[in-house]
């Protein structure tokens, strides 16, 4: 008897549930493709959280097109082929309207064919080496001209740096960035013997030789700076060694492109004060938008000590742009949304308005900040206006003639202005 009653109760409940679900109309699914385990979890977990927060906030405002948004989170586990598999799963099985995700360039390259084949949309929030523009991808992180080149300009003009030590981890982003920087520095009249390029393996932990080399390279009577594209975990031992060998920022400043608030959180920042980073956003930037964002983040994550960083702002901008484009297009279908994205402008967190260019890159301000004792950055310089991401670097001969323009009728990611044809170079 009890069994029958339980069964009956359960089936009524199920019926009730299914009717409420049906009454609630459909949801729009948004894919989140960030590693939650493995080596990249350290950086990507935060981006998953910020996406959940943005979606929750949008739902409170009534969702998009009158429908609620539903996040679909998958874990590609820092495994590059897995990124492609999970992207396919998001698009084919979960039928998401857009995907926000990827961090390393390898993971982005591995999902590109999937997005192209299944015609979906990816928002990529991390600074990268450029030399790419794909129809299905919107690049909300910095291209080299939005980070590396302004930083070098700053050091050259404001600090009077004449010798350059380019230190990077051995993979595609540092190699391409350093190639661009080397070409740029030489075009500014820096001599060959005043540039050293050095690569180290991932997770390099023994920096003694390199730091002592930097020390002697920097004590030749010319002002010297280190441009660091050292990635992830290798930074901590690098800065510890710098501090211990007594290299201060006033003598040899280090400007880093991969060190933000999140990376400094695991470090004793005392010896690092004065070293630099170039980003498009700093948590310390004092604007009402930023304050609101930080408060919302602290409320969402339930921890006052958590920091915000540049890729989080990139997701903030990218997500708001997508919402605006979907509302303009009146649908979440890929093709109309891609067309509506170009020209969309939304406020960023630093007091400006970022807009999406025809090359699928966005306009951003560039800030150079100095590390402070509390693990935050103090802005010491910023570009006078916003800078549009330059997908094909003008400083490399093989890409100087290329542009990307995804508006009809050109609709091409690598148009060669010299020959007037699309498909000017290898993607």
């Amino acid at each position: 008897m009890t069994l029958v009653r339980t069964l009956l109760g359960a089936s009524t409940l199920a019926a009730l549930l299914s009717t409420t679900a049906a009454a609630q109309t459909e949801t729009i699914k948004v894919g989140i493709l960030h590693s939650l385990s493995g080596t990249m979890a350290i950086s990507e977990t935060t981006l998953k959280d910020v996406m959940l927060m943005l979606i929750e906030e949008q739902n409170k405002k009534g969702g998009v097109l009158g429908m609620q948004l539903e996040p679909v989170v998958v874990d590609p586990a820092s495994d590059w082929p897995m990124f492609a598999e999970k992207a396919r799963e998001l698009i084919e099985v979960n039928e998401v309207a857009a995907v926000f995700g990827a961090w390393t360039s390898v993971s982005r390259k591995s999902v590109l064919p999937v997005f192209e084949e299944l015609n979906s949309i990816l928002f990529y929030p991390v600074q990268y080496e450029g030399q790419e523009s794909q129809r299905n991808v919107f690049y909300t992180g910095a291209a080299p001209n939005q980070q590396a080149i302004p930083a070098v300009d700053y050091l050259m003009n404001e600090e009077g740096v004449e010798r350059w030590y380019l230190a990077g981890t051995d993979y595609v982003y540092p190699r391409t960035t350093n190639q661009i920087l080397e070409a740029y520095l030489k075009s500014k009249g820096v001599a060959d013997e005043d540039i050293i390029v050095n690569y180290t393996p991932f997770g390099h932990s023994d920096w003694q030789t390199i730091v002592s080399e930097i020390n002697s390279f920097g004590s030749a009577g010319k002002k010297t700076a280190v441009v660091s594209t050292i990635n992830g975990d290798a930074n901590v031992p690098f800065y510890i060694e710098l501090g211990n060998q007594g290299i201060s920022a006033e003598d040899i400043p280090v400007v880093a492109f991969s060190v933000g608030e999140e990376e400094l959180a695991g470090l004793d920042t005392g010896p690092l004060v004065g070293h630099l980073a170039a980003w498009n956003y700093f948590m310390s930037i004092d604007t009402p938008e930023n304050e609101e964002f930080i408060t919302a983040w602290h409320d969402f994550i339930g921890n006052e000590d958590r920091v915000t960083n540049d890729p989080m702002e990139a997701h903030y901008i990218g997500f708001n742009m997508w919402v605006k484009a979907v509302e303009a297009a009146g649908t979440t279908d890929t093709d109309p949304v891609i067309d509506a994205m170009i020209g969309v402008a939304v406020p960023n967190l630093t007091g400006g308005i970022s807009s999406m260019g025809a090359n699928h890159h966005i306009t951003k301000p560039v800030f150079v900040g100095e590390i402070q004792a509390d693990g935050q950055f103090e802005v010491v310089w910023e570009t006078p206006g916003l800078v549009l991401g330059d997908e094909w670097s003008d400083h490399l001969p093989e890409s100087a003639d290329l542009i990307a323009d995804w508006r009809a009728p050109l609709s091409c990611g690598n148009f060669n202005v010299a020959t007037g044809s699309c498909g000017g170079a290898i993607q």
């Binding site: 939650l36 385990s37 080596t39 979890a41 350290i42 977990t45 404001e158 600090e159 009077g160 051995d170 050095n198 690569y199 180290t200 393996p201 997770g203 390099h204 932990s205 023994d206 003694q208 030789t209 390199i210 002592s212 080399e213 020390n215 002697s216 004590s219 030749a220 009577g221 010319k222 975990d233 901590v236 031992p237 510890i240 060694e241 501090g243 211990n244 060998q245 007594g246 920022a249 006033e250 400043p253 999140e262 990376e263 959180a265 695991g266 470090l267 004793d268 004065g274 630099l276 004092d286 100095e370 402070q372 509390d374 103090e378 802005v379 010491v380 310089w381």
Partner: protein
């Protein structure tokens, strides 16, 4: 002498007073405006007024705490963050109420900070505190300004502290060299600067190799060449030291594996994770100390070491009892099972502590560096070398001189015979594995000082550890010691020529070739034990 200088200064001060007072306020209002280079000019001018109030302004500016209140242009020193701000008027020193966002920071960058340091130098050359005078003289040496020559001469006349005098003489030399003094004086200045350490000599004199006065250029070139030769010699010693230091890290990471893999023959892929657990133990201990007993912070590593040994050892025993003992004699299955364990441990730590790096602080005795000749030795590396050797010595003692060590050797050499003699072989297996794991935990304590404390910590060391043990000869702990230090030193001699990436590849290839020739490693275990 001192009196004369004082009256001179006083006279200068009084005569310049009306002008200085007027332009001082004027300069203050100009300080927050313009670009960094404009601000640098104002800073130098402020210092040149000789107004004692300038020191307070520049001190606040150098610390990045100088703010301006846009409503009335008042300069305030503001400390604290967010809503918890404290303000003082820089000129009067009175406390001032500061509401968030009501003031703007006067921005400083590195080059402005250098200017401030040099300007403070001028202002503090006559400070009563000899340490501050020394810093001021150093600052004047690094940023020579011919206009300050008179001030330096005056300070030199009044100086009675020998160290500060020496620094002032050096500062005077760079200042003369920078100015347009006669050739003889400038050559003499070069000779004075020559006495400093080679690196300083190169930094100070290299630009003068292209001087317009040929005598000066020649003297500078000669001094720089000598300094470079000295550095060249020292760099060999430097490489040996770096190699020893890298070797000690390899030794620490590998010596536990030398027991579990070398002596017992268990391929333990979770070895790196045991190291990681040791590092996290250090983190937990430091956290507890920070909260409950901050005065013990300098002892945190010594407190963490036995706990890390114990914890990693327990986990090791659990792995052996739970998994490895069922798989003795089946190396492939052991490899896969322990690899699985390593993934479980990593993700467990990631779930418990989060994926981010955890901050493990350096106790004061592990920070900084000292110099022997031209060799910079950092304290943390030195202590890690010492720690590695102590751990190794204790391990050797345990293996050679204690009953448990005797039993371990007996069981690994001839299990059946040892069992017949009444040794509980399974218990000895667990203890041996636990010992190796515990030592891995100790390695974690040391590595927490030089590497990230993150769930991935262990992965970076597992390959290197196996490399060291195989190269040294499995089963021979002395071989592990020799292999760790020789690999460290060879790596560090290769690195300046080949780069870090290539050096690593070259070493791997060399080891592969070496193992082809001598499959049992550097020091092969000989005798009947080999067959057992």
């Amino acid at each position: 002498m001192f009196l004369r200088a004082l009256t001179f200064m006083l006279g200068l001060w009084v005569s310049a007073l009306p002008l200085a007072a007027q332009s001082f306020d004027d300069l203050l209002t100009r300080l927050p405006q313009g670009s960094f280079s404009d601000r640098a000019t104002v800073v130098s001018a402020l210092a040149a007024t000789g107004d004692l109030r300038a020191a307070a302004v520049l001190d606040a500016l150098g610390a990045g705490e100088l703010h301006v209140r846009p409503s009335d242009g008042a300069l305030l020193r503001v400390t604290g963050r967010g809503t918890n701000l404290r303000g003082t008027d820089v000129l009067t020193g009175d406390a001032v109420e500061v509401a968030p966002r009501s003031t703007e920071a006067v921005r400083v960058n590195n080059s402005l900070r250098r200017t401030v340091r040099a300007a403070m130098g001028v202002l503090t050359l006559r400070d009563p505190d000899p340490m501050r005078r020394l810093n001021a003289a150093e600052a004047a040496f690094r940023a020579p300004d011919p206009e300050q020559l008179e001030a330096i001469d005056l300070a030199l006349d009044a100086e009675d502290d020998a160290r500060v005098r020496a620094a002032l003489i050096q500062a005077r030399a760079t200042t003369i060299l920078r100015g347009d003094a006669p050739v003889a004086e400038r050559v003499e200045a070069v000779e004075t600067i020559r006495e400093r350490s080679p690196r300083v000599v190169i930094a100070a004199l290299a630009p003068y190799r292209a001087d317009t006065q040929p005598e000066v250029a020649e003297a500078a070139a000669d001094a720089v060449a000598t300094a470079e030769r000295t550095l060249q010699l020292w760099s060999q010693a430097q490489n040996v030291w770096f190699g020893l230091s890298l070797g000690s890290v390899l030794l620490l990471a590998a010596v536990g594996l030398a027991i579990t893999f070398g002596v017992m023959g268990v391929i333990n892929m979770a070895h790196g994770e045991l190291v990681m657990l040791g590092a996290y133990t250090t983190f937990v201990v430091q956290n507890a100390i920070r909260v409950h007993a901050p005065h013990l912070f300098d002892w945190s590593l010594l407190i963490a070491a036995p706990l890390a040994f114990g914890f990693a050892g327990l986990v090791g025993v659990a792995i052996e009892r739970g998994i490895v003992r069922h798989l003795y004699g089946r190396p492939l299955e052991t490899l896969l099972a322990t690899w699985g364990v390593s993934l479980i441990l990593q993700q467990a730590v990631r779930s418990a502590f989060g994926p981010n790096n955890r901050e493990v602080g350096n106790p004061s005795w592990m920070s900084g560096a000292f110099e022997i000749g031209q060799l910079t030795i950092t304290w943390n590396r030195l202590w890690i070398v010492v720690f590695a050797l102590v751990v190794f010595a204790v391990l050797m003692f345990v293996m050679r001189r204690t009953p448990i060590g005797l039993q371990m050797r007996a069981v690994t050499q001839n299990r059946a015979m040892a069992g017949n003699m009444g040794i509980r072989t399974s218990w000895v297996d667990a203890m041996t594995f636990g010992l190796g794991a515990g030592i891995a935990g100790l390695a974690g304590v040391a590595l927490s000082q030089i590497d990230n404390v993150s769930p991935n910590l262990g992965q970076n060391y597992i390959v290197d550890s196996f490399m060291v043990v195989v190269f040294g000869g499995a089963g021979n702990i002395w071989g592990t010691l020799a292999a760790a230090f020789s690999l460290g030193i060879v790596n560090k001699f290769l690195e300046p020529y080949a780069g870090a990436v290539l050096a690593k590849i070259v070493i791997l290839v060399a080891i592969i070739l070496f193992i082809q020739k001598r499959p049992r490693g550097l020091f092969a275990v000989k005798g009947r034990a080999v067959e057992a």
